[in-house]
Amino acid sequence: MENENANFGPEHEMDPKDNSRRTFLKQSALITTVALTPGIAAKAADMHIDEKIAEAFEKVPLKMEVNGKAHSLMVEPRSTLLDILREQLDLTGTKKGCDYGQCGACTVHVDGHRVNSCLTLGVMVNGKKVTTIEGLAKGDVLHPMQEAFLKHDGFQCGYCTPGQIMSAVACIREGHANSEPEIREYMSGNICRCGAYPNIVNAIQEVKGGGFVV
């Protein structure tokens, strides 16, 4: 991994020599052809070994803190924060709904602000702090918003719930939970197909009214 890092030069310049994937594939294909007998070379091509080598080469370093824990990863630039959380860090609480920024199921906090992780490139979160639904509870003690969603039945199927809860916490922190219309407006980025909206609003109003520190 350290050697791979070294290939990318200074932190801000990921690819100083303009080594495109194509150039790399050509070079590695040439090496393969020279080094291997035709039969083995064909087999290597079948197994997409060039692709696999190129993928590893093209990964870029990503350092971020997730739920208080520091992570140092190698990721493809095209990987979204959502996919990295779910596939590389096994934090599957954050849900993939539409994957196009239209539903809010993927909502997480980056440096304390709610964002759609499906439209966030992981590499752009470098050096930042991410909080997911797994980071809200303190051990076995649920966050007040999680308790309120349970108490008010703020979900049916539950798929949108992690995003709803992350958004609900942000809604109070931003100071936009002062009335039902305001809560509805500032929760509009989270769609609930089951239609649990009235109960979600009730849960948020209870947490807001209860003076909990969120």
Binding site: E11, H12, E13, M14, D15, S20, R21, E58, V60, E76, P77, R78, T80, D99, Y100, G101, G104, T107, H113, R114, V115, N116, L119, T120, L121, V123, M124, N126, S167, A170, C171, E174, H176, R184, E185, Y186, S188, G189, N190
Partner: protein, 326 residues
């Protein structure tokens, strides 16, 4: 999504050098670009991340308000200078997208976003904007969301921004820089009509970078309003929207600014209607008259004829709100 190279620009110069190469695109908030890349509508070889450049400031100058290209939509909409001096812009921003998206989207990125025409996004469909020469799927298709002003035989898409409608009404100027140095583009001339080249959304030259936007000081703060009419109450693109700003003195309109969203390939300023309002009393009758003038020459397609009635009604309604009569 096609693989690409990623460069985190450490300086404006580094960003300008990088974007001079074809196949390179700038990324800031990414709320539209990542979406487009996932769908294969665009596939850049290289992305230049400009979010580390110092272009986030919101500053009052001698003549107006300067807002940096990287200021977040959420930050601008809550900024005290903006709320106090240009409340119309704050209203327009809050009408757009969702709180999460506004936390990511930047002022420059908002200007650069693409139409949400479904035929542009569906790569199995013809679209002159996505692939020049293939035809327009919307023209004979489901064109409920489409233009009633300034469309061409090649494209009837609309620009989706709310922020830009507010900025167009407020005579904002976009400041850009490139190889030839800085230049200033009035917001009303930043986006263009489709004409024969619907693939070109705006007048930003290749290799240019948006630095920010300036709104000249005005006397509209007391009497301005942004009305957005959409299929649901929030988090949806406009069927039509209206930015209305009035300067009223003793019941008489001294100055008027009107712009519409959801009706054209660019934020649509209503210059003739503005002229018709100046010197008139702020009455519902005069607002309706101006709305009629504004929508003369509008042309509908099979599924968006409702906009021919919705547009003037929305203009009159927005003016009533702006004048404090609603």
């Amino acid at each position: 999504m096609k693989q690409f190279q990623y460069l985190r620009a450490a300086s404006q110069q580094e960003a300008l050098t990088a974007i001079a190469k074809p196949g390179t695109k700038i990324i800031a908030g990414g709320t539209n670009l990542v979406d487009l890349m996932k769908r294969g509508v665009t596939a850049p070889d290289k992305l230049v991340d400009i979010t580390h450049l110092p272009l986030k400031g919101i500053v009052a100058t001698k003549t107006g308000l300067h807002i940096g290209a990287l200021a977040l939509n959420s930050v601008v909409s809550e900024n005290s200078l903006v709320v106090q001096k240009q409340p119309l812009l704050a209203m327009a921003l809050k009408a757009g997208a969702s709180p999460q998206l506004r936390n990511m989207a930047t002022v420059g990125g908002n200007m650069m976003q693409c139409t949400r025409c479904t035929y542009f996004y569906d790569t199995t469909m013809p679209c002159n904007k996505r692939e020049p020469g293939t035809g327009c799927g919307a023209m004979e298709g489901y064109n409920r969301m489409h233009a009633i002003f300034g469309a061409s035989d090649h494209c009837i898409a609309v620009h989706p921004s709310d922020m830009c409608v507010g900025l167009a009404a407020l005579d904002a100027v976009v400041i850009v820089t490139g190889k030839k140095g800085e230049r200033r583009i009035p917001m009303t001339e930043f986006h263009r009509l489709p004409g024969d080249h619907p693939e070109t959304d705006n007048t930003l030259a290749p290799g240019e970078l948006i630095l920010g936007v300036e709104i000249p000081d005005n006397h509209f703060a007391k009497n301005s309003y942004y009305l957005k009419v959409r299929d649901r109450q929030s988090y949806a693109f406009a069927l039509v929207s209206v930015a209305a700003a009035l300067e009223i003195s003793g019941g008489t309109i001294k100055q008027a600014r009107l712009a519409m969203g959801g009706v054209a390939h660019k934020p649509w300023r209503l210059f003739e209607a503005e002229k018709a309002l100046v010197g008139k009393a702020a009455t519902e009758e005069n607002f309706k008259h101006a709305a009629e003038i504004a929508t003369q020459g509008a042309k509908a397609y099979e599924y968006n004829a409702f906009k021919l009635r919705l547009a003037p009604a929305s203009i009159a309604e927005a003016l009533k709100h702006a004048a404090g009569m609603a």
